[in-house]
């Protein structure tokens, strides 16, 4: 399937979901299932939590499909956003994580520390506009943006991790995002 075919298939899948046809969910998982699960696993660091996140996300996709508007962006971007938000909710739900043993929590935290390497940040294979634009950012802004987007760190977690005041982190994010968007446009 070409990228174009995939994009068309995903758009149609969301229309099917909105119309109550659950083959839409099958199509989405056929096209993107392993990649979606990969994103969830990268953020959550546990296979059980990642599967739970994807399952919840697919229910949300099903429920919200009627709100999807192709004029506002791609179906793929919309689906990944729902999954990422679901992962972040699991990660930030103290009650949800309190059922984990301290050892499991430690593993989870450790996993997240290694998701975004400090050196050799280039996660993106092959040339791309995003890669070039990320490369153009100053090191701190790039690192923070990757910690947030790729590993799901909150601003205060980033502040603790980078040993910087929250206000500094906030302005680095603003500055970095502004520069990134300028470059991408």
């Amino acid at each position: 399937m070409t990228e174009q075919d995939k994009a068309t298939a995903l758009r149609k899948a969301l229309l099917d979901c909105a119309a109550g046809d659950n083959s839409g969910v099958t199509t989405i998982l056929q096209c993107e299932g392993p990649q979606l699960l990969g994103v969830a696993y990268r953020i959550l660091g546990r296979h059980d939590l990642a599967e739970e996140a994807l399952q919840d996300a697919m229910l949300l996709v099903w429920r919200k499909a009627v709100q999807f508007d192709a004029a506002h962006g791609s179906a793929r971007g919309w689906i990944y956003a729902i999954l990422r938000n679901r992962c972040l909710n699991i990660l930030r739900d103290g009650k949800r994580l309190s059922i984990l043993s301290p050892a499991d929590l430690a593993i989870l935290q450790e996993h997240r520390q290694t998701v975004v390497p400090t050196e050799n940040w280039e996660l993106l294979a092959g040339p791309s506009r995003l890669r070039d634009c990320l490369k153009g950012l100053d090191d701190s802004s790039r690192q923070i943006i990757l910690l947030a987007h790729v590993a799901g760190f909150s601003q205060s977690e980033i502040a603790t991790r980078q040993d910087m005041p929250l206000g500094t982190i906030k302005s680095l994010i603003r500055r970095g995002l502004h520069a990134l968007k300028e470059c991408l446009t």
Binding site: G33, G38, R42, E51, L59, A71, H72, G73, L146, H149
Partner: protein
């Protein structure tokens, strides 16, 4: 473009990155739903950042995963119901402004406390209706003053009064913070309530004219929500 726009755009960028808290996320999603221009910006940045998601190592789905999800899907309640922007019930522009101001107020938070001309609220609660749509935002300052802003168009019949309540403790039960005849932003003053806690329940009900006859909520709930601590 309103003066709020730059701030709202910056917040929506942070939303795409996953940096906003739960309450801010809820409110910015409402603003995005109501503002097509913002929705396009959010969709564009999402698509531009998508290669990062594509960089994760794919993981095989467990056997039977798709089937399991398909079986768990509920029936669609509203098959194909688009939401036209020009519905007569669509919120007016100033409601969007209030909603936008609310999310900015929340997001500015502690970091910029010194820039704000008024004291920080102790807690902020976003009140949702049964469908999860934000209706009002309450800032409780913890000194027997609270501020209520409505972020949705609520029709108050002439023979009805809106009443704001909180539940300081199970022992005290629901306690009135004040009554309103319309949905203008209002400062509420009350006496002898304990300092509000995170997770304290707030709600607005539609009561008979003049307020609840029993001193407890009797009418339908306009919106309810739990406070998030701002301290």
């Amino acid at each position: 473009m309103t003066p709020l726009s730059d701030e709202i755009v910056a917040l929506s960028d942070e939303y795409v990155l996953g940096l906003l808290g739960g309450t801010e996320t809820l409110l910015i999603e409402e603003v995005i739903t109501r503002d097509a221009e913002l929705a396009r910006r959010v969709g564009k940045l999402r698509d531009q950042m998508l290669p990062l998601d594509q960089s994760a190592q794919p993981q095989s789905l467990p056997a039977g995963f798709t089937e399991q999800i398909r079986k768990a899907l509920p029936a669609q309640d509203h098959p194909v119901k688009p939401i036209p922007a020009n519905l007569s019930t669509a919120p007016t522009r100033w409601r969007l402004g209030v909603l936008a101001a609310s999310v900015i107020g929340l997001a500015i938070g502690i970091g910029a406390a010194s820039l704000r001309p008024f004291p920080e609220p102790s807690v902020v609660a976003v009140l949702l209706d049964a469908q999860g749509v934000p209706q009002a935002v309450i800032d409780d300052y913890g000194n027997d003053t609270a501020f209520v802003r409505f972020v949705s168009d609520i029709k108050v019949p002439t023979d009805r009064t809106l009443q704001v309540w909180t539940l300081p403790s199970q022992e005290m039960g629901a306690t009135s913070l004040g009554t309103l005849d319309d949905t203008a932003a209002t400062r509420l003053r009350f006496t002898d309530l304990p300092t509000p806690n995170a997770q304290q329940l707030y709600e607005v009900t539609m009561e008979p004219l003049g307020g609840s006859p029993t001193g407890r909520p009797t009418g339908p709930i306009v919106g309810k929500g739990l406070a998030a601590s701002q301290i």
